[in-house]
């Protein structure tokens, strides 16, 4: 609540009047500071995620500290670590279980592109399976970089219509074509 609004309320200058706004603005304002992340932590990046959640970096400062361990409760998927071909169907299942609207952060080189694991077992980037909104460089990225990605998502959601499904047309290699 900004200062003018507070002042108006304190002085009861609004009286019985009604505030009008756009529904998008209200919803986005609520969403931006209450992103609920689901962390699909597979490897080294997950350890840096732990550091981000711990008190030094404190992801709560950005309103994203309500870590959910069920994708059905979350709207922000953080893929932290290498995703192998064996994990791909699991990643897809997790993404499919998340309710709309949902955002995806690809944390680190492996999740974004396979990293230096260009071999028989590693998926060359999770965007072959799920749509990605923000990629973070680094192996692993520092906690500041992850916080930056969260802020990036917050900015992004302001620009989008609040009540429409995101990325309905995305087709990954595991989706039925």
């Amino acid at each position: 609540m900004d200062l003018t609004t507070q002042k108006l309320l304190e002085q009861n200058m609004l009286g019985d009047s009604v505030i009008t706004t756009r529904i998008d603005a209200v919803i986005d304002w609520g969403r931006q500071s209450s992103l609920w992340p689901f962390v699909f932590g597979t490897a080294c990046c997950a350890i840096e995620f732990m550091a981000t959640a711990a008190s030094r970096y404190d992801i709560a400062r950005f309103g994203a500290e309500v870590l959910r361990f069920s994708p059905r409760h979350a709207d922000l998927l953080v893929v932290a670590g290498t995703v192998s071909m064996k994990q791909a169907p699991i990643l897809k299942q997790i993404y499919d279980q998340m309710p709309e609207p949902r955002w995806v952060i690809s944390m680190g080189a492996c999740a974004s592109s396979g990293g230096f694991y260009d071999n028989y077992t590693t998926l060359q980037g999770i965007d072959e399976i799920v749509p990605v909104d923000v990629y973070i460089a680094g192996c692993p990225p520092r906690p500041e970089a992850l916080l930056d990605a969260v802020v990036e998502i917050q900015k992004m959601l302001w620009k989008e219509p609040a009540l429409k499904p995101r990325r309905p047309d995305f087709k990954g290699i595991l989706d039925e074509q």
Binding site: F40, G41, T42, A43, C44, A46, I47, E48, M50, A51, A54, S55, R56, F69, G81, T82, S84, M85, K86, Q87, A88, P89, I90, I94, F116, Y117, D118, N119, Y120, T121, T122, L123, C139, P140, R142, I173, L174
Partner: protein, 567 residues
């Protein structure tokens, strides 16, 4: 490892067709005929008391310049019960589809080790109870570690296995009937908050009690061993960081040490002492994350902050030193990238002070806490005998009361001259596994303090132009320096042809590297003996008869690191 007391003559009488095939470092390598393998192994175990099966792997000699008579060979490493001696058995495999005998009736650790060889090389193990892929998914075709398998051939995985082929028989042997006994089958993982990585365990529950369990691993199989075959020795160092990413530096050191032993070079003393300091600091931060996460799993959240914050302070020290918080890649063959920075001692002292404070505060909260103790005491104990047979090493083995630590059994890097104690538990339950780690951190602090005091001045790299890069002023100003740099970067450090097994007491246990060199700058084969792989194998067996909530604590106390387990 000394070898003088291995009774070869008695061994020969037992298995008729054996021959000494040479030595690997100090370790005798004995060649056994396929048909004699089982007898030889049981003789080693029963009569010679080689009670731990350390490792099983295979070598594909297809592209070797000097191939032996058969394309495939399997290799078995056995460790004596005195932990000072190791012996290797080699078996020439004439037909991988016919295969060799399984050692599962003799050693508990053989099961997954053999499955891995089958998965990666396609060598069959006769009479194995459940021979199926373990690291790769079931839709995978071909055997990736065979030399004719291209490194980038991927296979799409569209579905996960249901695991009932493993769980079903286990339920039956426990005397239950899945259809009629009203058991509940529950998946723990692969994406589970307490699995600390992607590990899947499927359990059958009778009420809250676990009746049977089976684990599926391989979700973080990243092809470390195949990638090694296309990189030079120094290029492999960043890959080793990502094995046990909670103590990356320690993996660097273990790998570099093994290659240096193959090259037969002696590091300058300053480099050795720096390595001791960094290895022990890594042990501390590894145990910190294990205990912080373990306590968090049982709801003791405050301790998570108490233990994770000093870890962050250690990160600050490491990033100042190496430029990276987690994956440091600081070591090189023959030394390390550069010397310590000015003022490192004050920073390190500060880190150690905070670590000690974190441990003190946590122990004050949990050590005599009734809730904590009742949650962890007498949960999933592992007997000393079983721990050895499972191939446990490190804190998990010592928790079971087996006094084995490579820093004592086969001291390297002057460990025999440091004043510190081996931490040994008594019953091997979850409580012991956690408490051993608390105490080990304090012992590591003692070692670091002594190493810092004793650290001499001098170079941190060997003075050998075939191993160490020349100084930059030489590279830019002289043609010899430029050529030297070019050859070392492009061709790598040339390691004499041969094979070697080097072991290191890492945070989780014995981290071993079995390396085959063909004389070039790229290894012909690298196999990691990963402690977590063997610890995980025991997990679904030791949680039986306990509750789901206990199983979560047990997993945390074993400290399974997926990167190291799946490689």
């Amino acid at each position: 490892m000394s070898s003088e007391t291995f009774d070869f003559e008695a061994f020969k009488r037992a298995a008729s067709s054996v021959e000494v095939a040479g030595k690997m470092g100090g370790m005798p390598v004995i060649r056994v005929d396929e048909t004699e393998l089982f007898r030889a192994a049981s003789f080693l175990k029963e009569r010679q008391r080689y009670t731990m099966l350390l490792e099983i792997t295979a070598v594909d000699w297809l592209t070797s310049p000097k191939p032996p008579s058969t394309r495939f060979e399997t290799l078995y490493l056995f460790r004596h019960e005195d932990f000072a001696r190791t012996v290797a058995l080699k078996v020439a495999v004439h037909d991988p589809e016919q295969g060799v005998d399984s050692l599962t009736p003799l050693f508990l650790s053989a099961d997954w080790l053999e499955r891995e060889v089958y998965d990666q090389y396609g060598i069959v193990f006769k009479n194995h109870p459940c021979l199926k892929r373990i690291l790769n998914h079931l839709q995978f075709e071909g055997y990736p570690l065979r030399k004719d398998y291209p490194i980038d051939r991927r296979h799409l995985c569209t579905e996960t296995q249901d695991m009932m082929d493993e769980l079903g028989p286990l339920i039956e042997t426990e005397g239950y009937d899945l259809a009629n006994d009203n058991l509940m089958v529950l998946n723990l993982g692969p994406s589970h908050p307490a699995s600390h990585g992607t590990i899947r365990t499927i359990v059958a529950l009778d009420g809250e009690r676990i009746v049977a369990g089976a684990s599926e691993i391989g979700y973080l199989h990243r092809g470390f061993e195949k990638s090694c075959e296309t990189h030079t020795y120094n290029q492999i160092i960043p890959y080793t960081d990502r094995l046990n990413y909670c103590s990356a530096l320690m993996n660097n050191i273990a790998f570099a040490k093994t290659v240096e032993e193959m090259l037969d070079i002696q590091l300058p003393d300053r480099a050795i002492f720096i390595r001791v300091v960094l290895a022990e600091l890594s042990r501390i931060i590894d145990h910190l994350v294990c205990l912080a996460a373990g306590l968090l799993d049982m709801g003791a959240q405050t301790n998570y902050w108490y233990l994770f914050n000093p870890r962050n302070d250690a990160y600050d020290f490491l990033s100042k030193l190496t430029g990276a918080r987690l994956t440091n890649s600081f070591m090189r063959i023959g030394g390390m990238t550069h010397d310590l920075y000015e003022g490192w001692r004050e920073d390190l002292d500060d880190v150690l002070k905070k670590v000690r404070q974190g441990i003190d505060e946590t122990l004050r909260m949990v050590a005599k806490n009734r809730i904590f103790n009742e949650r962890v005491q007498e949960i999933s104990p592992v007997s000393a005998e079983d721990a050895v047979s499972w191939g446990f090493t490190g804190p998990n083995l010592r928790a079971s009361g087996v006094p084995y630590d490579l820093r004592f059994a086969d001291p390297y890097y002057y460990y025999d001259t440091f004043d510190f104690d081996m931490v040994v538990g008594s019953v091997g339950d979850t409580h012991d596994r956690m408490m051993v780690r608390f105490e080990e951190m304090l012992q590591s602090i003692r070692i670091i303090e002594q190493a810092v005091e004793r650290m001499p001045q001098g170079p941190v790299n060997v003075d050998d132009r075939a191993v160490t890069l020349p100084p930059k002023e030489e590279v830019y100003n002289t043609i010899e320096g430029t050529m030297n740099q070019f050859k070392l970067i492009f061709e790598g450090v040339k390691v004499p042809a041969g094979e070697y097994y080097g072991a290191f007491e890492a945070a989780n246990g014995e981290l071993g590297f079995y390396i085959v060199s063909d004389g070039s700058g790229t290894p012909y084969k690298v196999k990691v003996r990963a402690p977590s792989f063997l610890h995980m194998q025991a997990y679904p067996k030791i949680i039986v008869d306990y509750q789901v909530a206990d199983a979560i604590m047990t997993l945390g106390s074993l400290n399974i690191i997926a990167g190291e387990m799946d490689r």
